[in-house]
């Protein structure tokens, strides 16, 4: 594991649960256990992908990092400071360097505002650019950076295609000179040919600006191309973490293996393989006891039904599975 000073973001033991309230007195009757004991770090200029199916808590983690949720436990260290303990003013300042790009650009852009004003809005708030002319010049430069024609800056969001709108959202995030961008399903709604363009753009920006990404997605195939490291989540917990190459070539956790095998392949020889796991993901408000995955795991043992596995260190990462526990190794 790398030194604390080397990471731009360090999340430790994060827990974010949502209370379920019932009845006249709105008594708390349970919790949606969205994220539990989540730890990871991201180095400058690197990408960590947080992958999982719906309800695994990946977006909750993203939102918790931006302090859009109130985690009950844990630390979110960004550039060496714990965001969860900052007052409102310092948090606002820290947010300048921590941006987010969502899945649906139409929902995150204001339909009645020219795109130049939306991109410049953050510059105003954080005092970037001395005057209007300087900010306009910067908007033009940002649009060029995301491969849009600067002459379109006076247009409105509806005049752009879905892929172009996502470029606008990226330009807006870049406007305040962030160090880390949380990409929450940022390419999931795009057509394949446009998705490739945006993925290439994100990677080029990373190389040019030294950005770090937390890339949240349900789509493992996208991850392989972009991420340096992958963390796989299932029902609120990270079940496996490691460098992308290793995780794809030698997945350690049975859920990672299932997730990889479930992607419909475009290789004609790989048609008609049996589904890797059966059933649906259980509800995060009532996760199964023991290992959360045991109800669907093809290699579950008696122990998995009773006991929750801790994270075990493995070669190239860690895995939350009893089968990853190192046997007493000789020599």
């Amino acid at each position: 594991m790398s030194d604390a000073n080397e990471s731009i973001l360090r999340v430790e033991g994060l827990r974010t649960w949502y209370p379920i309230r019932r009845g006249l007195l709105r008594r708390v009757v349970g919790h949606v256990q969205a994220a539990t004991d989540v730890s990871f770090e991201i180095a400058p200029g690197r990408t960590l992908a947080l992958v999982g199916e719906s309800g695994c808590g990946k977006s909750t983690v993203g939102r918790s990092i931006l302090c859009l949720e109130n985690p009950q436990e844990g630390r979110v260290e960004f550039e060496g400071r714990d965001l969860l303990s900052l007052d409102a003013t310092s948090l606002r300042a820290a947010r300048q360097r921590l941006q987010i790009v969502f899945q649906d650009p139409m929902a995150s852009l204001d339909p009645r505002m020219r795109i130049r004003d939306q991109i410049a809005e953050g510059m105003h708030s954080f005092g970037i650019g001395a005057d209007e002319a300087e900010r306009t010049a910067r908007v033009a430069e940002l649009l060029e950076r995301v491969q849009l024609d600067p002459r379109t800056m006076d247009r409105y969001p509806h005049e752009f295609s879905g892929g172009q709108r996502q470029r606008i959202c990226i330009a807006r995030a870049l406007a305040v000179e962030p160090r880390l961008i949380v990409c929450d399903e940022s390419v999931s709604a795009l057509d394949v040919s446009i998705q490739a363009q945006i993925l290439n753009l994100l990677r080029r920006l990373q190389e040019e600006l030294g950005l770090s990404y937390l890339f949240i997605t349900h789509d493992l195939s996208v991850v392989r191309y972009l991420a340096h490291e992958v963390a796989v989540m299932y029902l609120g917990r990270i079940v496996e973490r490691g460098p992308t190459e290793r995780l794809f070539a030698h997945p350690a956790h049975p859920y990672t293996r299932a997730l990889l095998a479930a992607i419909p392949s475009i290789d004609p020889a790989r048609r008609g393989e049996a589904p890797p796991v059966l059933g649906d993901v259980p509800s995060p408000s009532r996760p199964p006891p023991g290992c959360h995955f045991h109800t669907r795991c093809p290699v579950a043992m008696e122990r998995c039904r009773r006991e929750a596995p801790p994270m075990f260190a493995i070669e190239g990462g860690e895995s939350r599975c009893f089968l990853s526990e190192a046997p007493g190794r000789a020599d």
């Binding site: 394949v192 490739a196 419909p264």
Partner: protein, 329 residues
């Protein structure tokens, strides 16, 4: 033997500022009995509108203005509204991306399938319920008897999709239109539903027109593939040659830009530009504005159909010029 479904020169338009704007523009294909044909394309390609046109369910103010759709020889576009409604329930069924678009949230799911059966067939409630129970078992719903009395919200996404498939099959249709049937599902659940669809298709011999943007799903289910771009067909081929030796530059670009084919550390080969809006379609080949191999005629004249191999149809000037002058077939 003639095909189950014959679509010829289908043209569907929506009114636009500069006159009617086509969304489906001269599309022709056949679907054989028991065959799975995938209609593939990105958003705006016209793949869903082609399906809606076949079912005569194009949302207003859009309308089918030309072409023919024959099901077992009968022209669907000429049928009365009542006769067409009968075709839709009994001979062609549809499953959608989002199960809640066709499930009623306040009616027990078993009851909804019973109703669907009794709407089209004169059977007793008890018989229809027995059939529903058997269908639930066939589509892999665990504990079917208990699930008959469940409301949709009590079921997971995967189970709701299974109920919708049971409902679609309840009238024993000859043909199923599946519009992005697994797009809203998690990937591990999607794998199960794809397997179910393949098994049902084999055991029942139902023909499927599969509409999808995902070439992985095409590979899992389809026998043949029709690729659409900007309202037109650009290539039709059996599954394996389409995935291994695509001929149209658009199909080639689509396959290359898939992250699964990308090499880690290298940029993905992208198709530059965006799909043009219908009002900006070039006079010639619709893909000519983004095509890496375009030459003189491409922007001006629409390419004729060429048959580079048995069962393959391609619309591309570049493919045409590279074929021997006495083209195959």
């Amino acid at each position: 033997m003639s095909a189950l479904l014959e679509v010829r020169d289908l043209r569907t338009v929506f009114p636009g500022e500069g006159g009617p704007t086509p969304v489906v523009d001269g599309v022709s294909f056949d679907l054989d009995r028991g065959e799975v044909l995938a209609l593939v394309g990105e958003s705006g390609s016209g793949k869903s509108m082609t399906a809606f046109s076949i079912l005569r369910l194009v949302p207003k103010p859009g309308r089918v203005v030309a072409g023919s759709v024959r099901l077992g020889g009968e022209d669907l576009l000429g049928l009365s509204v009542t006769a067409m409604r009968r075709v839709r329930g009994r001979r062609i069924s549809m499953i959608f991306q989002e199960p809640m678009t066709c499930l009623n949230p306040v009616v027990r799911v078993g009851e909804q399938v019973v109703e669907a059966i009794r709407l089209h067939e004169d059977v007793s409630r008890a018989d229809a319920r027995d059939r529903t129970r058997a269908l639930f078992a066939e589509v892999g719903i665990p504990d079917p008897e208990a699930r008959l009395d469940a409301y949709p919200h009590q079921l997971s996404g995967g189970l709701k999709q299974r109920v919708m498939i049971a409902m679609a099959l309840s009238t024993r249709p000859e043909m199923l239109i599946a519009d992005e049937p697994t797009t809203a599902l998690d990937v591990t659940v999607q794998a199960q539903i794809l397997t179910l669809l393949r098994e049902l298709q084999q055991s029942r011999g139902t023909a499927i027109l599969l509409i999808t943007h995902d070439l992985g799903i095409v590979n899992e289910l389809a026998d043949r593939v029709a690729v659409m771009y900007a309202g037109r067909l650009v290539e039709i081929a059996p599954r394996v040659p389409l995935l291994t030796e695509p001929l149209h530059p658009y199909t080639q670009g689509l396959l290359r830009s898939m992250p699964a084919r990308g090499r880690p550390g290298e940029p993905l080969p992208e198709i530059p530009g965006v799909v043009p809006r219908a009002s900006e379609w070039p006079r010639g080949c619709r893909f000519s504005t983004r095509c890496p191999v375009r030459f003189e005629p491409c922007a001006e004249t629409y390419p004729a159909e060429s048959h580079p191999a048995a069962g393959r149809r391609v619309f591309c000037h570049d493919v045409e010029r590279r074929l021997p002058s006495e083209g195959a077939r």
